[in-house]
Symmetry: C3
Subunit: 282 residues, 3 copies
């Protein structure tokens, strides 16, 4: 599909081709993605899904999710601005997704920082997410909540206090423990299903300066769940897209305001070949 | 007011002049528009109202709306991210608007997709909206909820599964049934009060790629209710503005991110003559 | 630090240097700012905090704020889209901030317009905010709620019906009454702690056309509370930054859409010297 890149191994070239093909498939399928997400990210998550070619649905009320979730292609649950009510809605949607065999992704925003949040995340884990995506500190905190470590180095807020290199070993163990794919995003993004580990080195240091860009990545990763062969492939495909699109957009941006604009434009206009040709495995 | 456009009939020229004059009146009046809308659209709805020259108020709590609604120029109710609490607030606001003679607009987002939503929409219809604005599928679903058809072709999510041509006949019947104006937006926008039917052919296929742009159109249409002679004229004026502004903005955009930016700029800077001179009746 | 500006007095030059230094300190400290704000402003408030170099946390649930607020550098409470639940969360967070000695800022959006809102604001005032920031009408309404005047000229909605010149005398009395700093924003921004009064004449008439830009200013002012010597200095520093950055951004903007983008870019890229050199005291 894509020619082999300079300096790429044949494995890398195959991965690059796969990332390109997944984007092609996503646009053809136009999957319906339900997103129960925080108030900060609703706008950018819906815009990212539309830009990439998916159909977003921000249905989040317990009154509606029981009827809605069975018919979506994927569900994304993001605990960003958690409350008692939204925690209830998230658990109900996750249960419904599991019962009806819909794939779902958990974005454990600020895991490790607050008791109520960690308890909610622990309950959500019982419903078997297909992917857990967070920054390095969040993934380490989920591993801690799952009893895999006693490391107490929690971040103060929502920004990561760790690198993904520090999180990688725990991410692999968490993937095995939860039978799911794990994505820890950072300067280098780590994608693992407990057996395989991929590292994507694209992106830009300007990306964390745009609020909820990571949340929107989770939403788009949900769309990939609808077209990929398995959660690991979906996790890799969306990580590759975000890394490459973020890098291309940052090259045109003067700061976080114009990066957000250029990023949505890029999600819309990027060709599958662009993803394949610009991918840099770490 | 506006010179006759090439190929326009004199009726079309009159309509174009009317659309221009309504924008002029709106900017002079600076109407106060209360918007009870979904979490995805709050930002763009408020920004669109400010850009066009109206004053937005996103007051939505039952504790406040009883006191606030009687003094606004128009109310807009959008069921996008519905919940039990927001449905209650919407009904209270709609009742207050009716009792105090304030015009109000209903945006039935995702009508036909979910039981709780359709029941809420049915209750809201009792309070006599001045305008109902939605995409083709939503308008058809409201007609079904009102008992005008048994067609069950509901969309899966929030995106339309029908063209406005398919919805037009039902839109006319719904307008007669509800004694209000109906706007079905799509590639060609249909505006009707049950007697008259206008079709606006402006716009851009990029517009549905910006989330909540339709919701923001409903908010701006609320502002037109405050200055137009009747709901039909308000519906037409806002439809004309959105079609022309969207088309002009899309000509400058590289994708949905820059379209949103250019669109808000255009709402702010567009001259009444620009609306009149670029309008294309379908 | 900064050379003396043309026509500046030595006092003004000192103020300009101070405003520049505060921005430098803020970026070095990267303060964690909790923001309980309205749904319209969450996105732009978080983006402004990230752009300027602070760490935003939009934690707002009563289930979490008791545990979270004691460890933040500052708290910002904005009553924009008030409800019974959010009023409860705001009071709890303000109590916690007071008890734990965390500085906090009150943004009394639409004060004077609605009974429930004014009662909530009165209860919040008991918890001693360090700064109250609003437009002229809002500051006058808070002064009225505090019993300092009987003037009943309330605005209808969220937009100011007064100039800051009209509000200045009341702002000074309110600062003395509440033992805090007051900022009344408008064409000329007034900053006072009841003893000192500063007027910042930067900014652009296009700024009020961007929704929640004032709310985002309150969020950023919260970040300044974490690094300034006292609330008055924090109030002045953030007011200077917003005036200068808004003016520079407006010079590049074609309307409110591009102003928002350029403004976030400017918050990110503006040098402390740019703030100092472009500041115009009124």
């Amino acid at each position: 599909m894509s020619g082999q890149m300079k300096g790429q191994t044949s494995d890398d070239a195959q991965l690059a081709a796969c990332a390109g093909q997944l984007l092609r498939d996503l646009r053809a399928a136009r999957p319906l993605v339900q997103s129960i997400t925080n108030f900060v990210s609703m706008d950018i998550a819906a815009n990212a899904l539309l830009a990439v070619g998916a159909s977003p649905a921000m249905v989040h009320a317990p009154e509606e999710t029981g009827e809605f979730t069975p018919r979506v292609d994927a569900l994304v649950v993001n605990v960003g601005t958690l409350s008692k009510d939204s925690a209830h809605a998230m658990e109900q949607a996750a249960t419904t997704a599991r019962v009806h065999g819909r794939p779902w992704l958990l974005d454990p925003v600020a895991a490790g920082a607050l008791t109520f949040r960690d308890e909610t995340i622990q309950r959500l884990l019982r419903h078997r997410p297909s992917i857990i995506r967070g920054n390095a500190s969040e993934i380490m905190a989920v591993a801690r909540a799952a009893g895999l470590t006693r490391n107490e180095a929690a971040p103060r807020g929502v920004d990561s206090a760790h690198t993904t290199q520090e999180a990688e070993a725990l991410a692999v163990r968490l993937a095995r423990h939860c039978f799911c794919a794990i994505v820890a995003t950072g300067a280098v993004d780590v994608v693992t299903d407990g057996e395989r580990v991929l590292r994507v080195a694209n992106g830009s240091p300007l990306m964390p300066r745009v609020t909820a860009l990571g949340c929107s990545m989770s939403a788009v990763m949900g769309a990939y769940l609808a077209v990929a062969a398995d959660p690991f492939e979906a996790a890799f495909g969306a990580t590759a897209l975000y890394g490459v699109a973020g890098e291309l957009a940052a090259a045109k941006a003067q700061g976080p305001g114009s990066l957000r604009v250029a990023f949505l434009d890029t999600l819309y206009s990027i060709a599958p070949e662009d993803v394949a040709n610009n991918l840099r495995m770490g």
